[in-house]
């Protein structure tokens, strides 16, 4: 099938400047922007967007106010500010489309585990290395490259509508930066987030909530261990119950894109705390973990599923029935999101990609949370993920 693409669209694509993209990306990677510390990179990106020719605003969103928003997704780090950079190109009043990316990155971990400086932007064999190079400063550089090309090819003068670029903080711990951008009006008819997707199109993603479980036991001296009840035994009972719950929740999924993932809604425990003395039967274990949010569910719906599962496990065990484990929901809360596979957004994007690259992107579901759901569920803006990197 031949894809119809105008001369102006092909000219804009041809105007992309690889050297400028490489320079933008290397400069961004050299600015550490671990979640909660995005001020310097936001200022840099505001300068870059303005330099390209976008009308640019930096919103210093009110962190206290955003925490009161009913859709506030939580946070897992301290922050002094929530800087959101928004650029505008084209004509107000017509159709409006949004390109968005986050500027925060996760910490680099042990530097000894790297073969490159995490903040160096080294280029080797056509790949640029560094924390955030893939997730997702590469995607932000692609947005900058596209805007540069629109301006350089004079396509801007022909736009019958407005392009909005929203560059946000705080994605890695929940998405409050995108929520702030949406509340400030950075919405439109269609949106693309350039998170890494290996240039396929993500039309569905699961969500996740973080939970803390306090699991009781009964202390006793090790020499009289039968007098006590180890909280570890109770924890194993709960883990077996959560495994059965995970199996049932995943088996109930019918969306083919999520079924294809095999386990779209994993439940895991990633942190375990317990014990004060080696020869005392454990009287308490506190664990933290992650629970999947199914398509169509809000984080609150998933929390209700989890509470019901824990209640059922408590009720099925003699000790836990009298000394129930308790669950709290803490940290970042990622809802799920879905755009129909036959929606004009993924179809139009796939058409453009096929026309430019000769390869039609696949439509995918993903098991992790992303800001896509905020544009869909809170911004009323159909949104997909399409970006470079794995």
């Amino acid at each position: 099938m031949t894809i119809d693409l105008s001369d102006a669209a092909r000219a804009a694509a041809a105007a992309v400047d690889p050297a400028a993209i490489r320079d933008d990306l290397r400069a961004m990677v050299r600015i550490p922007s671990v979640t909660g510390r995005e001020e310097a990179i936001a200022a840099d990106l505001a300068r870059r967007l303005a330099g390209i020719g976008m009308a640019t605003e930096t919103l210093l969103a009110d962190s206290a106010a955003i925490r009161l928003d009913p859709a506030w997704p939580g946070e897992e780090t301290d922050r002094a500010s929530l800087p959101v950079v928004i650029g505008f190109l084209g004509r107000e009043g017509g159709r409006r489309i949004v390109l968005s990316g986050h500027l925060d990155v996760v910490p680099p971990g042990d530097p000894a585990s790297w073969t490159a400086d995490p903040w160096g932007g080294e280029i080797r064999d056509g790949r640029l290395y560094g924390r955030g190079a893939c997730d997702m400063k590469g995607g932000v550089a692609a947005i900058l490259g596209a805007v540069r090309a629109l301006v350089a090819s004079s396509a801007t003068a022909g736009l019958d509508g407005e392009l909005v670029v929203a560059l946000v903080p705080g994605e890695e711990d929940g998405g409050q930066g995108t929520l702030a951008a949406i509340r400030a009006g950075a919405t439109g008819d269609l949106a693309i987030i350039t998170e890494p997707s290996s240039l396929d199109i993500v039309v569905a993603h699961a969500g996740a909530i973080t939970f803390r479980l306090t699991v009781p036991g009964r202390a006793a001296h090790a020499s009289q261990r039968r007098e006590g009840v180890s909280a570890l035994d109770s924890l194993f009972t709960i883990l077996r119950g959560l495994e059965a719950d995970e199996t049932a929740r995943n088996a109930a999924e019918t969306d083919p894109l999520m079924v294809a993932l095999g386990l779209p809604y994993p439940t895991i425990v990633g942190i375990v705390h317990g014990g004060e003395w080696a020869s005392t039967v454990l009287d308490r274990v506190v664990v933290e973990g992650r629970y999947g949010v199914r398509l169509g569910q809000s984080p609150a719906d998933a929390a209700e599923d989890l509470r019901r599962a824990i209640d059922a496990i408590n009720a099925s065990d003699a000790f836990l029935g009298e000394h129930p484990a308790t669950v709290e929901i803490v940290g970042g809360q990622f809802g799920s999101g879905r755009v129909p596979s036959d929606h004009p957004l993924p179809i139009g994007l796939a058409d453009a990609a096929e026309a430019i690259t000769g390869r039609r992107p696949a439509l995918l579901g993903e098991p992790y949370g992303a800001d896509m759901r905020l544009f869909i569920n809170e911004g009323g803006t159909p949104c997909v993920i399409y970006g470079p990197g794995e």
């Binding site: 390109l99 090819s153 392009l163 430019i356 690259t357 990197g389």
Partner: protein, 42 residues
């Protein structure tokens, strides 16, 4: 339209995180074309 199994998260958040520059450039070309296609000529 192909519906393929997702390949999973391998590079994001890992040590030696990297991105192929050719993919970044290709993404920029597609985005530029898509914007013009969606917003159309005046």
């Amino acid at each position: 339209m192909r519906h393929l199994r997702a390949r999973g998260v391998k590079v994001a958040h890992s040590a030696d995180e990297h991105v192929p520059l050719a993919e970044v450039e290709e993404c920029a070309r597609v985005l530029a074309a898509w914007v013009v296609r969606e917003l159309g000529p005046a």
